[in-house]
Symmetry: C2
Subunit: 305 residues, 2 copies
Amino acid sequence: MKRVRMNIPKGIEPYLDEKRAIVDKALQEAVPQPSGLAGEMITSMNYSLFAGGKRLRPILCIAGAEAVGGSAETVLPVACALEFIHTYSLIHDDLPAMDNDDFRRGKPTNHTVFGEAVALLAGDGLLTLAFNMMARQGFEHDVDKGHLLRVIELISHAAGYKGMVGGQTVDISSEGKEPDPAVVEFIHRHKTGSLIAAAVTSGAILAGGTEEQEKAINRYGQQVGLAFQIADDVLNVEGDRALMGKGIGSDTARGKMTYPSVFGIAGSKRTQEELVDSAIDCLKGFNERADPLRGIARYSIRRKT
Amino acid sequence: MKRVRMNIPKGIEPYLDEKRAIVDKALQEAVPQPSGLAGEMITSMNYSLFAGGKRLRPILCIAGAEAVGGSAETVLPVACALEFIHTYSLIHDDLPAMDNDDFRRGKPTNHTVFGEAVALLAGDGLLTLAFNMMARQGFEHDVDKGHLLRVIELISHAAGYKGMVGGQTVDISSEGKEPDPAVVEFIHRHKTGSLIAAAVTSGAILAGGTEEQEKAINRYGQQVGLAFQIADDVLNVEGDRALMGKGIGSDTARGKMTYPSVFGIAGSKRTQEELVDSAIDCLKGFNERADPLRGIARYSIRRKT
């Protein structure tokens, strides 16, 4: 495979900005406004949902749809649901029983503001709302019900015990253990990779992509998902503290099993480059409509935060 | 409305035993077997799922289907999903950050056996698996996809911030506060009533009940759900410690807002009787196929555990 040294393509930043604005607007409309006796928990859901996320998963869902000829509009409810799931996972991961993080994206974590009980429940509420939002699309919008059920199945699989929840379990249980290449790959593929792959694949399914297109886009997503998490590990070592908004070096301090801890910084960077090349290679059967996916693959390891 | 003093009807215990066996078998087949790096979390999911639950929500789902002429088989995946959701809610409710309970049904709670991180993740895993199980039915079994999406919407609504999660939020935030009739009714209707109502209504929807039947069964479920939780409160005051398997009087010790704390024991018992009468009254347009629902309504407040 031919290797090309890549920078963030010129076109991708405006694309990301444009789609992020669309996603943010849809999230604002989708999320409940705090009211009633349980209002504080709803405030807590809102707090983490609008705490400066990159909206990578929703944007990948949109770009996956566009790559097979669809539009953002068709997939917006599912795109929002993906961000609900991602946000719930951050709230739960930050809890004292898990990673015990006080800051994320430069802001106090959910439980440090609202307390552990409310944070736990806000996470549960966001996860549940994600499935509500997806199911509702089945009769509120014009969408193929079979496609939608496949997407709900795919996303719940990727977020569940065989995916994100499984990855987080091993992430926690591996703290302080001897570096192990198979274990760190398991963690990253499950904790981060599977939901990212499900995000981009869901877009392709909902937009009516062929089976072959779905498979190619899913392989793309698996590679980008792993590359993205390796880049996160690298940023935790050598990122800019002011840009990152959380403690640099926190992974090492906690004995986290990361790519740098197993393969070193140089090895990790080599792997993430190879993964991005391989991801872009999965798209060779696609025309220029897949350019955003190509750009996002490069961006996934070039970003500063 | 004519009031009839009721005992547990003779027929309902064998019915509950029979359906519980069907549900237990389906749950055994549906739940993952522990394996792989995240095996302990899967063991933890299994632990709470088979810790002696009554399977009330799955049985109500089946009885709801039968009441409109359907069968258990059609609704078993959704029935299992309801038990996954109920079990997740118990695991999270028992956590130190929430109710901090060490025992449930006579067994150590999930986090006392597996630790808080694994318990939290096992709960997340069960909630996510519930939606996976339901969505999978859409292409693995012969079911109306529109009905299934409505059921996923209904159950996620009932389990979410407007239902169970909202109720639990207020349950926690009301501890030690002045007894308030409106607050305790909010807690019980949301924390317990909404998922019970969704369970029985889901059965009716999946089995192709008419809109009128669905509405009647949903009203039945709302009444039974509230009655069931009031009966729980009463059992916490005057239940048999050996049968209950958890601390009698624990609600009072914790300053929980319960029906007895607001209305007294006599007032609570009167209300639960009225609710059961009213629930059965909702079924007046149904023939003998709804007898199990009538029996379960009476059982909901006559049980010893």
